[in-house]
Symmetry: C2
Subunit: 322 residues, 2 copies
């Protein structure tokens, strides 16, 4: 007897139908230089060119699009200082709803501006004294808002999986798929799509060395919590895998490999100088693993998810100054 998994390939196909004409079908880039460096045929699925600059729009839109008209009229809530905030703000607007985003008081102005630019209301809290989950839940309850979590939701996960679906539809068979891992929603969705379409594909997750909670958890066979990691890959600074994402990833992810901040910087630099594209640190980790030789044996034909490109010019300058 088998139980139905919480997210299936059909769910990903459903999400793809909803996202059609709304999310970008992002380009798959190739580079002779990159292939020669890695010794493989590399296909980069470029979610840095997705709306809001990251894959997060896929999941947020898919989840919000399934809410009732009544709920859409009441509005949406999310807590995030990163790409999920912008994704929820834009998806809510696109669906004729409204969003309230809970952000720390000291969020960079550019991030708050981006969210406000999509028409969302921002509520701030003190990140040192406030518990964002409690504040978010209270806010949602008080105003009747639907809370859209960044990864712990089947519709969010199915939405993220459309990135892998598009990639495999476009390029066909791949020996392996490399995906950055933060809370685990992107890889859970991508693994669902990839293994559903090509059961033999090797799915490799990539975490920053300092943020190896999913690697440890998979090894331990249970969710392991680590101290909040210090890494330039801020989108991957999770301390513990999600319950739902872990239940999927322990079944579908073949291995997790780790990268250092220097590996990430080198990958971002290669992307900048040779591919002429901008990748944020978290978004570059899967590419970094491949370039640093941390995926062995090297898969002859490999897909790499570039998960986002939201980094300011000044922050980028800090990473390469001197």
């Amino acid at each position: 007897m088998t139980t139905t998994p919480p997210v299936t390939l059909d769910d990903v196909h459903d999400a793809a139908a909803r996202l059609k004409g709304v999310a970008h079908r992002t380009p798959v880039l190739r580079s002779r230089t990159l292939d020669a460096l890695v010794g493989a045929e590399v296909h980069l699925k470029c979610e840095n060119f997705q709306r809001v600059g990251a894959f997060k729009f896929r999941g947020a839109y898919n989840a919000i699009s399934r809410l009732s008209a009544d709920q859409l009229a009441k509005g949406i809530a999310a807590y995030s200082s990163g790409n999920h905030a912008q994704a929820v703000a834009l998806a809510a607007r696109e669906l004729g709803s409204s969003a309230v985003i809970l952000m720390p008081e000291d969020v960079p102005r550019s991030k708050a501006d981006a969210v406000a630019g999509y028409g969302a209301e921002i509520v701030t809290y003190d990140r040192y004294t406030g518990d964002r989950e409690a504040i978010g839940a209270a806010l949602a309850a008080e105003r009747g808002l639907a809370l859209v979590p960044p990864y712990e939701h089947p519709h969010v996960i199915a939405g993220q999986g459309t990135a892998a679906l598009e990639l495999i539809e476009e390029v066909g068979d791949l020996d392996a798929l490399l995906v950055p891992v933060g809370g685990g929603g992107l890889i859970a969705g991508c693994a669902t799509a990839a293994k559903g379409l090509r059961p033999g594909i090797r799915v490799v997750g990539v975490e920053p060395e300092a943020g190896d909670d999913t690697k440890r958890s998979l090894e331990a066979g249970r969710r392991v919590e680590i101290p909040i990691p210090r890494t330039i890959a801020d989108g991957q600074a999770a301390g513990i895998p999600g319950e739902l994402t872990f239940s999927i990833n322990r079944r579908l992810v073949d291995e997790i490999t780790l990268v250092t901040d220097d590996d990430i910087r080198a990958a971002m630099r290669l992307a900048f100088e040779r591919l002429k594209i901008v990748i944020e640190p978290s978004g570059a980790s899967a590419l970094a693993a491949l370039l640093a030789g941390r995926v062995q044996p090297v898969p002859p034909r490999v897909g790499v998810v570039i998960s986002g490109g939201n980094i300011g010019a000044q922050r980028f300058a800090e990473l390469y100054a001197g």
Copy 2:
């Protein structure tokens, strides 16, 4: 009685046939953010994604492909410390020839490495005491090499024009085409293609404020020399228009507009942060003119040539530090 122009639309079509399958047909990018900022429908022809990272490959390959088998066996020469050097090196290799590139002794290591990486021989000279044109001519004569100039050549100009040809073939009617101007080869070719296909199109050249030799020359009706300009747009630091390019541009270019280094920095930043693409300073000048409101009235449907993306991460960091 009319005389045949030195470069015609047919020449550009010929060049396109030679470049097919060799040069990249570069993407034309759109951005809602950009359109909203400018108040126009903007189509970016992205030569930063061209081989060697700049439009220069088009002209170099077209010119070298027309040399005799005997000449290809003897080899090619060029003097350049910039994108033309890489373009000639790669085009020569692709055509089974060899290249000797004359570069100043103090050329950045990364640029010399790129040229050497394409299999070219590098000969250095002292930029303070040596006359590169004389040294280049002597070298070419001595070894029987064919000198491929960066812009003063009909085949080079026709090759560069294929960028505009592709753009207009892809997007159809445009009210205006904005093109960066250095020595004038890119705009001469692009204007030939654009006016040939769409006689009513407005062709606008963009120079850095400090390097306004083509603007002054068009106003004076003759080639005007200015001191070597100081600008971050090193690919546009020409002191006088070419004879051939000026003869074409005075006939086909409707106006020249100027941008400051700050305009260029702002355009590069927008491209980086919102479009997630890397543009070198010279490559961003046409976009900078549009963003800074220096093209008036704003053309409702406008093509912008992004001419190149070769800038190191560290140099970029210098431009945005602090």
